[in-house]
């Protein structure tokens, strides 16, 4: 749908949040004082986990989930880069297992860069970053095997996890590994809370790199996200007040959603018609908030005259021509 006419609100909110983030990044670059970030226990425990692995001489396991290469995997690998930086300094072995070939390639490059930047490229084990399988449970079985065989001392399960999350978390729990986990999949967070020592909940996962490195760009971006949250909270509060008021008002009109044939195709259209039923208060689809997210699109708005492309008609040879 053309959102110059309808559905502009979502675009407006997105662009506003983008402006918030960019503005705060610019602001953080100029400010001299450090911006406060609340304590995140899971990230404070990062040093302890690596220290424990170093003392025990066992590896640190990192898994960026089973998602493809997207913002979630990239964020996970960015956190793992910070974990690896510390592990490299102590000479602690690492294992980074990937389920997606693109994430594997990215992780391999990043981890190599980390060892190189620390001047310890000789400490890097070529097999420390490995592709296990792109099938969910084959990957789960492979990683579970690594956890149990190598008796890892610490696990970092950060990224997009699904049903395999509990297999990893419980296996590592059974061998007494310190576990720091976080998933962008809300359905898996309860499993991690039940089985892991520290869990990054919701957007704490995205705040991790800002929390660890305190880089102005990352911290500014975090502040921009908070402004975005405040915007959303204000919408929730305003929407609640508006809906609570409207639900007390008498219903005078009703919305009719249907499909109409427009220029040879079916389109979803809607209209507002007078309500002539029993007296009652407004229903959810009568409210201003609902209409803002589900605008009225009339058939007239969709009626646009357009020319058709000129298609060169292929002339079929006649039977006589074929015979000749």
């Amino acid at each position: 749908m053309q959102y110059l006419d309808t559905g502009w609100f979502g675009i407006f909110v997105t662009v506003t949040i983008v402006v918030f983030v960019l503005f705060n990044i610019a602001r953080a670059g100029k400010s001299k004082g450090e911006i406060f970030i609340r304590r995140i226990p899971g990230l404070n425990a990062l040093d302890d986990a690596i220290g424990r692995a170093t003392e025990m001489g066992r590896p640190v396991l990192m898994v960026p989930g089973i998602g493809s290469l997207d913002a979630v995997s990239v964020q996970a690998v960015t956190i793992f880069a910070n974990v690896t930086k510390q592990a490299a300094q102590f000479g602690t072995p690492i294992r980074l297992c990937c389920a997606d070939a693109a994430v594997y390639t990215l992780a391999q490059e990043v981890i190599r860069d980390v060892y190189q930047s620390q001047g310890m490229i000789e400490r890097m084990d070529q097999n420390s970053v490995q592709f296990v399988s792109d099938r969910q449970f084959a990957f789960a079985a492979g990683v579970q095997g690594i956890i149990l065989r190598e008796q890892v001392a610490a696990t970092f399960l950060l990224g997009a996890f699904y049903a395999e999350s509990l297999i990893f978390a419980e296996s590592a729990n059974s061998i007494g590994a310190i576990q720091i986990a976080g998933s962008t999949q809300n359905t898996q967070t309860p499993f991690f809370i039940a089985a892991c020592d520290y869990v990054l909940i919701g957007d704490e996962f995205y705040a991790a790199s800002a929390y660890i490195t305190r880089q102005p760009v990352l911290v500014g971006s975090l502040v921009g996200q908070d402004w975005g949250k405040m915007l959303i909270i204000s919408f929730v509060v305003l929407g609640t007040i508006l809906n609570s008021y409207e639900f007390k008002q008498p219903k005078t009109t009703q919305r009719v959603d249907t499909t109409a044939e427009v220029r040879g195709g079916n389109e979803n259209v809607s209209s507002i018609e007078p309500y002539d039923g029993d007296p009652r208060t407004k229903t959810p689809d009568d409210t201003f908030v609902y209409r803002m997210f589900n605008p009225i699109v009339s058939p007239e708005m969709l009626t646009i005259e357009r020319e058709k492309e000129q298609v060169e008609e292929s002339v079929e040879p006649t039977e006589e021509e074929v015979t000749e």
């Binding site: 592709f131 499993f191 760009v217 996200q225 646009i304």
Partner: protein, 303 residues
């Protein structure tokens, strides 16, 4: 001029007599580009990555922000430049997606290389449990071999053998492939999935041990939701509530029906909390994507 450029479209016309020259030209340009990239100084590496990321991201940003034509039908001519560019972007989605898939296919090769390197090293050094690595590599080669053979038989119908989904048309190759895939792999997947039931049990036992106010709340709310799903118990409880309220369904006590309490916990406690988390995750992903797209992130991935 822009209209002329847009009219070129994303695909080569299959009937174009010059299509082979175009394909060859694109491949040559790609080869030269790859060679130049390999020779680029290390200091310029970041700039090149940022530029590529920006251009790739720009397509999707424009696709999201640019107005799409309303009620556009097959064979319609765009009315103006805005509609024309909107159509151009929409037409480009399959092309850009194919590019991403092609890249992923190459990367899968790197993944398999990693797998081979890890396990061949293990076998050659006779490290602990090296026998499992042998089994893994044999399985990999066998499944690949029969998988491709099966695919060729299905798609190219070699030696006049018409293979279809009907098992009676299968050759021994298709039978072996079926045993490997449906008979072994799927069942092993199911076995791994079933293990989760036991893991849930042990994790839930630890989580529900009453150690604090939070775990007590967790246990009570979980108990209510679980009990509400037990038909017989819900019936007995709700009957008792109905009796206590004197058979009046709008009595205040009716709020304490088991399914009503569970519904309240789910819709008024669980759902708002999940929505709040989703807002946070969405904002985080947006900010992360923005930083990557504009090359603002330093360290880690973008270094």
């Amino acid at each position: 001029m822009i209209t002329n450029l847009l009219s070129l479209g994303w695909d080569v016309n299959p009937t174009d007599p010059n299509k082979w020259f175009i394909i060859l030209g694109v491949m040559l340009a790609g080869g030269v580009g790859a060679f130049l990239l390999s020779k680029a100084p290390t200091s310029s590496r970041r700039s090149i990555i940022v530029a590529f990321t920006f251009v790739s991201g720009l397509f999707w940003v424009l696709k999201y922000l640019w107005p799409e034509p309303i009620a556009f039908r097959e064979g319609d001519v765009p009315r103006n430049g805005i509609e024309g560019f909107g159509k151009y972007l929409t037409d480009g989605v399959p092309f850009v997606s194919t590019l991403a898939q092609t890249l992923t296919a190459f990367l899968l090769g790197l993944g398999i290389f990693s797998l081979l390197r890890v396990h061949l090293t293990k076998i050659s050094r006779k490290q602990k449990d090296w026998q499992f690595s042998v089994i893994l590599l044999i399985s990999l080669v066998t499944v690949c071999f029969f998988g491709y053979w099966d695919w060729i038989l299905f798609n190219f119908r070699m030696k006049d053998v018409l293979v279809s989904d009907d098992p009676s048309t299968w050759t021994w190759v298709n039978q072996v492939q079926d045993i490997l895939f449906d008979g072994l792999l799927q069942n092993m997947d199911a076995a791994m999935f079933s293990l989760i039931a036991f893991f849930i049990f042990s994790a839930a036992y630890r989580a529900f041990r009453i150690r604090s106010v939070e775990s007590s709340l967790l246990m009570v709310s979980a108990l209510i939701v679980m009990l509400s799903l037990m038909g017989a118990l819900t019936f007995v409880w709700n009957s008792a509530v109905l009796q206590a309220s004197g058979g009046n369904p709008v009595h205040f006590l009716s709020n304490f029906r088991l399914d009503t309490i569970a519904g309240w916990v789910q819709s008024n406690v669980q759902v708002p909390a999940l929505r709040a988390l989703e807002f946070g995750v969405g904002l985080g992903a947006l900010a992360m994507g923005l930083r990557l797209w504009l090359g603002l992130e330093r360290g880690g991935v973008s270094q």
